[in-house]
């Protein structure tokens, strides 16, 4: 691998009681690339995401983001550092409109608080204007500009997933983690999603995606990491990984050797 590294893990481990969900994983994620993490169910992919985004504390090992140790940074601070994620179960704010969801994503890029809000001080008005302008920009990025005033949950699943990406993008990340963005989408929606992800990469943002849809992964990912039972068993380009005996065994449930 060449180029600069945006995210690195060393011996990253997460144990839930006796169950080791992520087992001494070393990762080196290159900046500005689309990296896919694949593996059978229960391989520890989502747990890995949860560790990187601070949902769970790590059991042992280190996570470095742009060279700085991330282990003890609280989850909510990681967004302003430039790490953001989406969720398998979408997790939109159902009590808001489409636009308001994206406006929420501007939270780490604005600063006015209770007092300025309560008295509608000039700072609040100024920032609020910038927040809605930016939110519209990110809504247009995912092609939902015409749905701004709709209730978020009135959108079909495919558009909900795009909205979740818009909300995440509104935080102006350096690294975006997408947890099964393709699940539940039809062919057309998957194509739109691929275009969007490539678009995000063109903006210079590093992308890590967990995905089960192999054609989607193989068409997008420049680097593929394979997890099985919490361990990294292979990595390489899509073509290399597809030929790897250990990967084939993991997916087909065979024993190697």
């Amino acid at each position: 691998m060449s180029g600069s590294v945006i995210l690195e893990t060393k011996g990253l481990t997460k144990a839930f009681g006796g169950l080791v969900a992520v087992d001494k994983v070393d990762l080196s994620i290159e900046a500005g690339k689309i990296t896919a993490i694949i593996g059978p169910n229960g391989a520890g992919k989502t747990t890995l995401f949860n560790l990187i985004t601070g949902v769970y504390p790590v059991s042992s090992g280190q996570i470095y983001f742009q060279g700085g140790l991330l282990n003890n940074v609280p989850a909510h601070k990681r967004a302003s550092m430039g790490i953001v994620r989406t969720f398998q179960q979408v997790h939109l704010f159902g009590n808001m409109t489409v636009l308001e969801n994206v406006m929420s994503g501007r939270h780490p890029r604005s600063s006015y608080g209770f007092l300025e809000a309560a008295l509608r001080l000039p700072k609040a008005r100024r920032e609020e204007e910038a927040i809605s302008l930016n939110a519209i920009k990110y809504l247009n990025l995912v092609g939902l500009g015409t749905h701004a005033e709709q209730d978020a949950l009135s959108l079909p699943l495919g558009q909900q997933k795009l909205l979740a990406i818009a909300r995440a993008m509104a935080t102006e990340p350096r690294l975006i983690l997408l947890d099964e963005p393709g699940a539940g989408l039809n062919t057309l929606e998957k194509r739109q999603l691929s275009d969007l992800i490539r678009n995000i990469r063109e903006m210079g943002i590093s992308v890590i995606l967990v995905e089960h849809d192999m054609p989607l992964v193989m068409g997008l990912a420049e680097w593929v990491i394979v997890l099985d039972s919490g361990q990294k068993i292979a990595e390489g380009t899509a073509a290399q990984v597809q030929k790897d005996q250990k990967v084939i065994a993991a997916y087909l449930g065979e024993d190697v050797e």
């Binding site: 939109l92 159902g94 308001e100 604005s110 809000a117 609040a124 995440a168």
Partner: protein
């Protein structure tokens, strides 16, 4: 365009409300109900705080009457026993109640849902017992009397007509402040927490900090209302701040439409009139009736009676309009 039309309508509604509120206490209008309307104004202030906490942020409090009582008791004790200026006492009460909410906020918000409800309920009971002790230390067995009127310079709020305007001025300012908060970055963060805590954290919202902050704000509102209550009735006992009072406050917030600032007036008004004028006749059964109201409203109109009525009104207006434009 539609949004602008809608907001100009709501400005009109608020303007109409303010005019009605100004005219209400005159004897040729609703003057005979001035005292009732003062109490409704006081309850509205507490209810708005509860709406922010429960309706917008999704955090239940079954002990809100404790904060209300703290405002009343601190004002009562400081002004009667220590002779502190009532305005300073009100400020001190707000600061102390807010600080108390801040201190309990962090541990209590480790709990969620039903557990949070239980914890706030327990807290309310403990504080209520404390109030009963305070009666004995600072007043008579049943309460503290001899609380002075509020005054500005030589102008004393010694008639209910005058106190009406004082209370509703406070109430309107607090409603406006709350509306501004709801329509801001902070308000979005609160609603985001209600929507999904995981997603809120992921986009950089400090969930616990916001929960604590909104608890503090709701406690400060309740405390101010409590102080106003003390200087209105000029006597405080523990009874208006017991568990039933906390339930009554939740009913007010629910009927007003949890996520609706102006609905708080409606919720506080209907619930208070209902409980003071009608439910009294049922004696101890009033608890059962509160419960029934809560269950019915939550099942059939989870957005609250106020929001439901607003919807019906809106639909009627649209239908009327459509009919009007037909040839």
């Amino acid at each position: 365009m539609l949004a602008r039309l809608k907001s100009s309508w709501s400005y009109l509604a608020i303007a109409a409300l303010v005019v009605a509120l100004i005219l209400a206490p005159f004897h040729w209008f609703l003057g005979q109900y001035t005292t009732l309307m003062i109490v409704i104004g006081i309850y509205t202030i507490v209810t708005v705080g509860l709406c922010l906490l429960m309706g917008y942020t999704g955090q239940v409090s079954l002990g809100q009457a404790a904060f209300f009582g703290m405002g009343a008791y601190i004002s009562a004790i400081l002004t009667t026993t220590y002779g502190v200026n009532p305005w300073l006492a009100m400020l001190a009460a707000a600061i102390m109640t807010g600080a108390f909410a801040y201190i309990i906020g962090s541990p209590i918000f480790r709990l969620k849902g039903n557990y949070l409800a239980m914890a706030t309920l327990g807290l309310g009971l403990i504080i209520w017992i404390l109030f009963k002790q305070l009666n004995q230390s600072f007043g008579e067995p049943d309460g503290i009397s001899g609380i002075p009127y509020l005054s500005i310079g030589g102008f004393v709020f010694n008639s209910s007509f005058r106190r009406y305007f004082l209370v509703w001025a406070f109430c309107l300012v607090i409603l406006l402040i709350s509306q501004n908060i709801v329509r801001s970055r902070t308000g979005r963060a609160l609603r985001a927490i209600h929507g999904s805590e995981a997603a809120s954290e992921s986009i950089g919202i400090n969930v616990n900090q916001f929960k604590v902050k909104i608890l503090v704000l709701s406690a400060v509102y309740a405390s101010i209302a409590g102080s106003l209550f003390a200087h209105h009735v000029r006597y405080v006992g523990a009874q208006p701040f017991d568990f039933l009072a906390s339930v009554k406050l939740v009913v007010m917030a629910v009927i007003g439409g949890l996520a609706s600032i102006w609905g708080a007036i409606f919720g506080a008004g209907t619930t208070h009139i209902l409980s003071d004028e009608l439910l009294l006749r049922f004696g101890d059964w009033d608890v059962v009736i509160y419960g029934l109201i809560l269950v019915i409203v939550m099942i059939f109109m989870p957005e609250g009676l106020f929001v439901k009525l607003k919807e019906v009104f809106e639909r009627l207006r649209l239908r009327y309009r459509q009919r009007g434009t037909e040839p």
